[in-house]
Symmetry: C2
Subunit: 173 residues, 2 copies
Amino acid sequence: MTLRSAGNPTSIVPTRPASAPSSLCGRDDETLALEDFLPYRLARAAEMVSKQFAAHYREQYGLTRPEWRTLATIGQFDRITATEIGRHSSMHKTKVSRAVRALEQRNWIARTDDPVDRRIEHIVLTREGKRHYRELVRMARDYEARLVRMLGTTGAKHLETGLGAIETELPGD
Amino acid sequence: MTLRSAGNPTSIVPTRPASAPSSLCGRDDETLALEDFLPYRLARAAEMVSKQFAAHYREQYGLTRPEWRTLATIGQFDRITATEIGRHSSMHKTKVSRAVRALEQRNWIARTDDPVDRRIEHIVLTREGKRHYRELVRMARDYEARLVRMLGTTGAKHLETGLGAIETELPGD
DNA sequence: GGAAAACCGTTACATCCGCAACGAGTTCGA
DNA sequence: TCGAACTCGTTGCGGATGTAACGGTTTTCC
């Protein structure tokens, strides 16, 4: 039949054996090792980290990921519009709209109309919102520090370099 | 008032000014720069790459991301079960179930019952499925090569090192 | 031998998401 | 000056997703 990638299909998970050096020897031109494919590895890594971090603010505050990003953006700039939130946090405007409404219902943010351009509304943190924002920032810093420690200083440094390359070379949106 | 992150809220996008050295000088303990936060950067990078790559197989074949991953996994091993697909491609079993059905309706895959364990069904590529798989593998290799070229050899190498650290240090699921 | 637990793949349901369209407001240009 | 084009934020809608439950099957363990 056709050529089989790994010997034992019942214990698949990492399955590196067949794809270790990836060039000479095997010459497996027909097959792609998904676990070595850069876009997949990137997506998987992001998902793992994101999920691990999300567990923190979800358990403690019941925040969703869009809500966390929105809060983080509003806290970073005080007084900001929905469109700017979307641009800064790479989120679709409908996602922002829904997250803002959710945060408003918690009384973590408040909106004010712009006196000159009445299409715009400015968003600010309430006192309560600021308090929770500070806690969440501390939590985020803690997680990031733990993550860097897990990855090792060089691992983290290399990751940041690689991400920097993507950020500068890929189309922003 | 509170301290403002960047000077000009109307031109926000990268907003590096306020967070460049990130330690001394500013002492911005209260605020987190989202664009410097590792989980966010990772998620954003993955999303950009994934979207750019997905555009290829979506335009040419109308495949979804779960379908592409499923196809890639089936092609990598010939004859595999749905559970194993999920484990190998980091997808939820319902995602796999739906992707498999979609691929079956295209006549790209076929299922056979296991003679001894009747809970299991083995999935294989049809002749047509193999043909498209080979084309998609070529497309994937091309994209990956282009991506590495965009990132530069060192950028890509560093990215791979960083991803390797995540893969070995983070909980698999 | 047989009940309980575990496993496989599917599906009902609630939720999330982005596209497209909307009303309201502003800017542009003839 | 007035209408076309654009912007802002919201929402209807269809499609995608994960949770929980399901029927069918196998394994475990008493």
